[in-house]
Every structure is written in structure tokens, then in C-alpha cells.
């Protein structure tokens, strides 16, 4: 039986993961860069947050801190790709591998946030536990609007061009690498923010939390793209729909260890639909 609490939970988790799905759309669809460092930045956003909250700092600090750390991770991936000319997958794998050790050093393998104040502690008293939803709605809407606005600026036009026709970009006298790096910085900033919100939401940091983040995001993205390939609210809806599918499988008493297989099968199914649609 699906309860109101589980519906609320998948809506909230969907909003958190939409902060990963939107940047994954930007990197994989717009600049055509399959950025595996997303897994690392999600975890690092969480690790930095766990560390800061255990230092008794204000939970508000975790938002700019995770954004900055994410941007730094994007910068590293971008520099490996543009400076050393490593391909996108290798740049992401190297960064994520390095981040694993950094995350362990920052927050160890597990860190409970049960007894520290989180960003959601401010809204504990809101009736029907809707406080978390309000916070997540505000943050997600903010990132969505910023991204939509950015895409209609000169910078956005150049970023959109960089993925589709790098030769044209060179003819315009613009360096593709610069715009790839700027995009990766923005993407990873949003993903690290998602990681930060995730650990505060579940009240626990685990070094293993981020495993499969990219696939979760890509699956949410594919669901959203069934509606439209362009950027829009359907991308957020896709992230929420993915969480709803996982929630339904749990309600059907499927053991959680099968979640990854369910995600993989769902992904294959969505890819097949998307291919059929193109035909």
C-alpha cells in the first residue's frame, strides 16, 4: 500500500536527484560529454556537508560550500580533458577515483548526521512534514530557472554550439575547451549540491551512497526525454518518476538489493523506446 509518506519521500528524493539530472542533461545532451565525475562530486558534496555540520557550522554554509567544491571538481575534469586531452570518460574516472580517497579523509566511510542540525532542521515544525518539500522545491526551482536563463544568454548559445559543431566554434574564434570546462564546473556544482542535500535528507553520509548516481540520473533523464528532448520541467518530472518506480518496487516487497538490476532493465527499456521513437 503506497502511503502519503512514501509519495512525499519519492517526490523529495526526485527533487534532489533532479539536481543531478539537469546537469547530466547539460553535459551529455548539450556539450556531449559523458561526465563520470558526477559520481565523485555527488559523494564529495555529501562528505563536505557531513564534515561542516560536525564542525557545528550553520547548515546554510553547506549550500555555497558544496557548490564551490563541485565547481572545483568540474574544473579538474575540464582541465584533464582540455589540457591533457584525455577523453571524457577517462577524465571523469580519474577524478572520481581520486575523490574517493579525499571523501574518506573528509568524512570517513560513514558519518551519522542524526544529532547535528541540518538545513531541514529549520522546517521541523512545518505541519504534515512538508517543510523538506518546500526547501527542496525552492532550491530545485532556483537551479532550474538559473539554468534555463543561462541557456538563453550569449554564454548559453556558445555552450549549445560547442557540443554540436566545434568546428563552427573555432571559426567564431572561441575555444571549445573553455566552454566545456565552464559547463562542467556548473554541472558538478549542482551535483555536489544534490549530494549535500541528500545526506542531510537521509541523515547519514556513506562513502558508497554515490555509486550508480550517473545511471540513476541518466534513467531519470531518459524518462523525461520521452516527453521532449529539450530542456524543461519534464526533466525534473523524469527524476521524480524514476524514484516513484523504485518506490513501487519496494512496495511490492522486492528486496532493495535488486534496485540496481531494476534500474539497468529500465534503462535498457527506455533506450529501446527512445530508439523506436527516432525511427
Amino acid at each position: 500500500m503506497i502511503t502519503l509518506a512514501s509519495l512525499l519521500s519519492c517526490l523529495e528524493l526526485g527533487l534532489i536527484y533532479s539536481l543531478v539530472v539537469m546537469p547530466v542533461w547539460l553535459s551529455s545532451v548539450v556539450i556531449r560529454f559523458y561526465d563520470l565525475s558526477v559520481e565523485g562530486s555527488f559523494c564529495t558534496g555529501g562528505a563536505v556537508t557531513a564534515l561542516l555540520l560536525h564542525m557545528q557550522l550553520s547548515p546554510i554554509i553547506t549550500i555555497p560550500a558544496s557548490l564551490c567544491v563541485g565547481a572545483l571538481i568540474g574544473l579538474c575534469t575540464g582541465l584533464l580533458h582540455t589540457g591533457l586531452r584525455l577523453n571524457d570518460l577517462l577524465s571523469g574516472i580519474i577524478v572520481t577515483t581520486g575523490l574517493f580517497s579525499i571523501n574518506l579523509a573528509l568524512a570517513s566511510s560513514n558519518k551519522s548526521l542524526a544529532h547535528v542540525q541540518t538545513i531541514f532542521s529549520y522546517v521541523d515544525s512545518v505541519p504534515f512534514n512538508l517543510g523538506s518539500l518546500v526547501i527542496l522545491l525552492i532550491i530545485t526551482a532556483g537551479i532550474f530557472l538559473i539554468l534555463r536563463q543561462l541557456l538563453s544568454t550569449e554564454l548559453g548559445f556558445i555552450v549549445r554550439a560547442s557540443g554540436q559543431n566545434p568546428a563552427l566554434l573555432a571559426d567564431l574564434g572561441k575555444h571549445k575547451g573553455l566552454y566545456t570546462t565552464i559547463t562542467l564546473m556548473s554541472c558538478n556544482a549542482s551535483v555536489a549540491l544534490a549530494g549535500s542535500l541528500f545526506v542531510q535528507y537521509v541523515g547519514f553520509f556513506s562513502i558508497w551512497t554515490a555509486i550508480g548516481t550517473l545511471v540513476i540520473a541518466l534513467t531519470g533523464l531518459k524518462i523525461g526525454q520521452l516527453v521532449d528532448e529539450a530542456f524543461g520541467i519534464h526533466i525534473i518530472a523524469g527524476a521524480i518518476a524514476y524514484q516513484a518506480i523504485i518506490a513501487i518496487t519496494l512496495e511490492l516487497h522486492t528486496p532493495p538489493e535488486w534496485n540496481k538490476l531494476i534500474t539497468a532493465i529500465l534503462m535498457i527499456f527506455l533506450m529501446a523506446i527512445s530508439r523506436m521513437k527516432r525511427k
Binding site: T153, E154, A167, A170, D171, L172, K174
Partner: protein, 243 residues
Amino acid sequence: MLKLEQVKFEIDDTKIIKNISVNVQNGEFIIIIGQNGAGKSSLLELIAGTQKPSSGSITLEGQSIGSLALAQRAKLMSRLYQQPARGSIGSMTVRENCALALYKNKTIGLSQGLACLETSEICERITKLFPNTILDARMDSLSGGQRQLISFIMATAQKDMKLLLLDEPTAALDFNATQKMLDNIENTAAQNNVITIMVTHDFDIATSVGTRLWVINDGKLEHDIVNGIHKKLTHQELKQLMI
């Protein structure tokens, strides 16, 4: 002025361009012909600065093209390619593509992407050739001819360029689109005092436009016909020059 001095270009000991020296004055419109593999496109790449000569030098307005930064090079020259898709962004509208073309000598910021169109005549140039509604159409929804013509307008949006490089720009176009494109190329070449260099395989085109003809054969500049005399050549005579 464009100046090539003893330009040689080799790839893995294969001599692609063999010692070409030539001067081109502003306003000249050069047609390059030659058989497949003769080195026409390589010569164009060298002039564009996307390939560096193995030896010799290529200067434009006294500046060595190979040593120019990407932005400086873009300021001096524009290019149009054989494939209509190469000169624009398919998923963006014509209007958005026009805005992109105007970013050439501009520092990119967070202003509205289309704002620069207000002070430009690029959209007017397009609506002189096509209905107004085309501006809001996605580039990939247009025919090859429409797309290539708009790409040409985009490439020539910048008024102070010195060099226009055209690599078989009509190869993928039908007869009407080819005529429209050639008219536009000739008008632009005549009005803006730029050096125009066009590679073509089409003898009709080679003998109908331009002020000068270069015949490239086995990496060498075999014939340099000036003052538009090439327009008097028959196809047979042109074929003879290429052997």
C-alpha cells in the same frame, strides 16, 4: 594582401604541397581547381591556418597566419564548407544562429543571446531572400540550399574580414540554390574588398565567376590565370590545363 612564400606541406614524408609562392591583392576572387588529391583542400587549410606549412610562410596583411591566436584568425577570415550542416547549429533557430555569427569579435557574457541582433542587419539580409517566418525555424528543418545560403550570410556577417575561404560551397546544392549562392558570393566579393578563395570541381562555376584561376596539380600551382581571362576558357581547355 595574402602572401605565400615557398610554402611546402608534408605528411609522413608525402609531399602534399610543393613550393608554392604567390601574392594575392585585396578584392581578388580566386577559383582553385584541380583533380582529386591534387592538394586544393590542403592549400585551403594552410591558408586558413588550421594546418601549418612544413616550410615557408603564409602572411595576411603582413601577419603570419600560423602564429595568430584563434580569435585573431577568426577576426581576419571566414569559411564556408561543402556540407551545409557544417556552417550552422541544427538544433538552434535561424535567428539564434545569426546571433552566434555576431559573437565572432565579441567577449561572451551573460547578456541575452539575441540582444546583439538589434544593431545588426544580418536578419534583414536573410529576409530579403526568404520569408520572415524562416527566422524562427530550426536550422535542421531547412533544405540544404537554404541552410548553405544562411551559413554564407552568417560567415560574411563581419564587415572587416580580409579573407573569405569557400570549400566547394555549392557541391551539395541544386541548380537554383547554386545560382543564388554564386550571386551572393560575387556580390560580397565585389562589395567588401576581401580576398575570396573558392575551391570547386565544377567547370561551369570555374569559368563563370572569379577574377583569377589557380590550377593545382600534384601539389604545385601549375597555372595562375589572372584578370578574369579564365572565363573565356572552354571546358576542354580547362581539362587540358589540369593534366
